[in-house]
């Protein structure tokens, strides 16, 4: 007499078997744990803010306003430039050189560059005489900042000379500059390196879990334990369902842990969860493909990487500024990454992200069906 067993019970039994096998594989267990800890640590090691300000010292103090005016011409409210006045050129030089305790700084602290005008600079400008101006720069100041400081000195000199001659300083500028900010102005609230890196880290976690599942499948095929399973009431569809459920659960849970530990869940949590779930299914589908085709451990690993590296491109491009090329938008993971970036970096909502989410769902179905077909075929040939 045998008690009839329901299909969900069979699937659940296979899931439990696979989960036990996973927990016994020390290599993957250690790598998964270490990887997760490392990714979270890397996230928190990255800068959590964007330093958009160049701190510049100036002597004498009465020229500080001219420099601030230049800063305001570049960014609204002069956010890009912080001007500190100094009581003497020596104090300014010491501050730039990073020699602590420099006297005379209006607000103290190190400055990236210092503009030391002669004390009688304004008077000389009024007499139309050329002055020597020293620009102090620190060792780690990039070339573009050095160049901009030289330019700033010449601009201040020109404007000061015009003002001394009784002209309107604005009309001393030889062009009629029409400035327009294109796109949402993020000055002062830029996307931080941490936020840019988050999708890539989430992708790494999905990759790791994809490789784990691929390895489990490959081992099952190589050892032919799948044939033993077929001798039980389990059907091929039960085995496949169990693999998909376990793979998705593993990848999804790890990615959610990473996102939680990197404080990613805010207003758009449901959208982020949906995107992550689709990412986990894509990772599982990829694992089914590589696990079925790999002949051994390294072969499976290589096939998995060969599939997963191109899929990482959208996550890598999220690090870079600029528009995403059309061919990248065609990649299966683009939708998932777009949702992650949209929710965590720009606070986008469901109506704004339905298109990438829909595309990701379509890709999910395609990869999963392909993976299942390949694995079913492989099992059938054993």
């Amino acid at each position: 007499m045998t008690r009839p067993v329901s299909r969900p019970a069979i699937v659940w039994a296979i899931v439990r078997k696979d989960a036990r096998e996973y927990s016994r594989d020390r290599l993957w267990l250690v790598l998964t744990t270490v990887g997760l800890v490392m990714f979270v640590a890397l996230f928190w090691l990255l800068p959590s803010s964007v330093d958009e300000t160049i701190r510049v010292g100036v002597y004498p103090a009465d020229l500080a306003d001219s420099l601030k005016g230049l800063g305001a011409s570049g960014a609204e409210g002069g956010q890009g430039l912080e001007v500190v006045s100094f009581a003497s050129p020596e104090a300014l030089r010491a501050a730039v050189a990073g020699e602590g305790g420099a006297d005379g700084g209006a607000s103290g602290g190190d400055v990236a560059a210092g503009l030391a005008f002669p004390a009688d600079f304004t008077a000389r400008a009024a007499r139309d005489e050329t002055s020597d101006v020293t620009v102090y720069v620190g060792g780690n100041v990039p070339a573009e900042v050095r160049g901009a400081m030289e330019s700033a000195v010449r601009e201040i000199a020109a404007v000061t000379a015009a003002a001394a001659a009784g002209e309107d300083p604005a009309s001393a500028v030889p062009v009629r500059q029409r400035t327009a900010v294109l796109g949402p102005d993020l000055a002062g609230r830029q996307v931080t390196p941490q936020e840019r890196m988050r999708p890539l880290l989430a992708y790494f976690v999905l990759v790791m879990e994809s490789l784990v599942l691929a390895s489990l499948i490959a081992v099952e095929i190589q050892r032919r334990t799948v044939i033993a399973l077929m001798a039980t009431p389990a059907r091929v569809s039960d085995i496949l369902t169990a693999k998909v459920l376990l793979g998705t659960a593993l990848a999804f849970s790890q990615a959610v842990i990473l996102l939680a530990l990197t404080r990613s869940f805010g207003a758009g949590w449901s959208l982020l969860l949906a995107g992550t779930l689709l990412g986990a299914v894509i990772a599982t589908g990829t694992a089914l493909l590589s696990g079925s085709a790999g002949k051994d451990f390294i072969g499976t690993l290589f096939l998995g990487m060969a599939l997963l590296i191109p899929l990482a491109i959208p996550a890598v491009t999220a690090l870079l500024p600029g528009a995403t090329a059309t061919w990248i938008k065609v990649l299966p993971t683009w939708g998932v990454i777009e949702v992650m970036v949209g929710v965590t970096s720009y606070g986008k909502s469901w109506p704004e992200l339905w298109a990438p989410l829909g595309l990701a769902a379509v890709w999910c179905a395609v990869i999963l069906v392909s993976g299942l077909a390949v694995l079913r075929r492989k099992v059938g040939t054993l």
Binding site: V96, A143, P321
Partner: protein
């Protein structure tokens, strides 16, 4: 030990090696790493200002702008494209120069200068580009400079992040080819039991190991040099650099042989490589953070193989400055060689009873 037998095994490995996924990894990795590390991470942490120019009249300003150090200038075909690129944050700012801009400027007519700023551009980059543009305009105007600027450089110059990342990429190339490829070549043969077949021929285990090591060494040298070339760091001191890379490949290969003789299977080798990754890669982290106490890096044995390469390729030092570091690296290689001999004897014993 027979040179001809070693050569025969080596020839077989070089013929069959390219079929292995690890071989492909070792060759492709430097290219992928260079792209990821230099393009993505360097740009992420040190974003340089990017200026787009639509020049409808062949202005001198465009030519001057292209000579500016530290600013990436992109000459764009149309204003619509420029606006699109600026809005998409592909450029920080963009300006449009109408025909006759230079002549109007010199005639004191104050020509219009549309200046577009990207909403996602850093405020500091906006200031740099705005001030620099004004200076370029004044240079075209041709009036005498109102001030003589004297630059006083204070403190030692810090190398850009792109240069400090080179050791990381070179080290990866050495690990993949010198360590992993060498070790995998042995462990794979052991796991597939083709090593047993080899050892029933007159070939000895020591000859097999040496052949694998030579293959790993040659590929490690080649890939390290390719990596340096890809990163534009192969120009300085070619002889010294070749010697340093050879010593680094020697130590890497010796580590690979330790793993090869210590690991029972590929999984164990994978775990060994991952587990010791921190020890091997440790010193390269210190180049990224010059403020950290640099003496700590010297504790890691691999410091002595990567520092000569860094000093010769990036800092422009001469071979005479790094010879003692190379000497320490050779001592480390010797010590690793002794470990390999012990482990190889143990392996020989195990193979006999397996």
């Amino acid at each position: 030990m027979s040179a001809s037998r070693i050569l025969q095994v080596l020839r077989k490995d070089l013929r069959l090696g390219p079929r292995s996924p690890i071989f492909l990894f070792a060759v492709i990795l430097p290219f992928v790493m260079t792209f990821v590390v230099q393009v993505a991470f360097s740009g992420l942490l040190e974003p340089a200002p990017r200026l787009g120019i639509v020049d409808r009249g062949g202005s001198q300003l465009t030519a001057d702008a292209q000579q500016l150090p530290g600013i990436a200038v992109d000459v764009v075909g149309s204003e619509a494209t420029l606006r699109q690129k600026v809005e998409a944050n592909a450029l920080d700012a963009g300006l449009v120069l109408e025909p006759g801009f230079d002549a109007a400027l010199r005639a004191g007519q104050r020509p219009a200068l549309p200046f577009y700023i990207g909403g996602e551009s850093l405020a500091s980059n906006r200031v740099i580009l705005a001030v620099t543009t004004l200076d370029l305009v004044r240079a075209v105007e041709g009036k005498p400079e109102p001030a003589n600027v004297v630059i006083d450089d204070l403190g030692a110059e810090t190398l850009p992040l792109s240069a400090r990342l080179v050791p990381l990429i070179v080290m990866y190339a050495l690990i993949m080819a010198g360590v992993f490829l060498t070790a995998f070549a042995v462990v794979d043969e052991r796991e597939k039991r083709t090593l047993d077949a080899l050892l029933v021929t007159p070939v000895r285990l020591s000859e097999v190991l040496l052949a694998k090591a030579i293959m790993g060494f040659v590929i490690a040298v080649a890939m390290a040099l390719v990596t340096l070339a890809l990163n534009g760091a192969l120009d300085a001191s070619p002889v010294g650099l070749l010697l340093s890379v050879a010593v680094a490949a020697l130590v890497s290969t010796a580590i690979g042989l330790v793993f090869a003789t210590g690991a029972r299977n590929v999984q164990m080798l994978f775990a060994l490589t991952k587990g010791t990754g921190f020890l091997i890669l440790g010193p390269v982290i210190f180049y990224l953070f010059p403020d950290w106490p640099q003496w700590v890096a010297k504790i890691f044995p691999t410091y002595w193989i990567i520092d000569p390469i860094y000093r010769l390729a990036i800092q422009g030092d001469a071979l005479a400055d790094v010879w003692w570091e190379l000497l320490i690296a050779l001592v480390i290689a010797g010590a690793l060689g002794a470990v390999v001999v012990t482990l190889a004897r143990r392996m020989q014993g195990k193979l006999a009873v397996e």
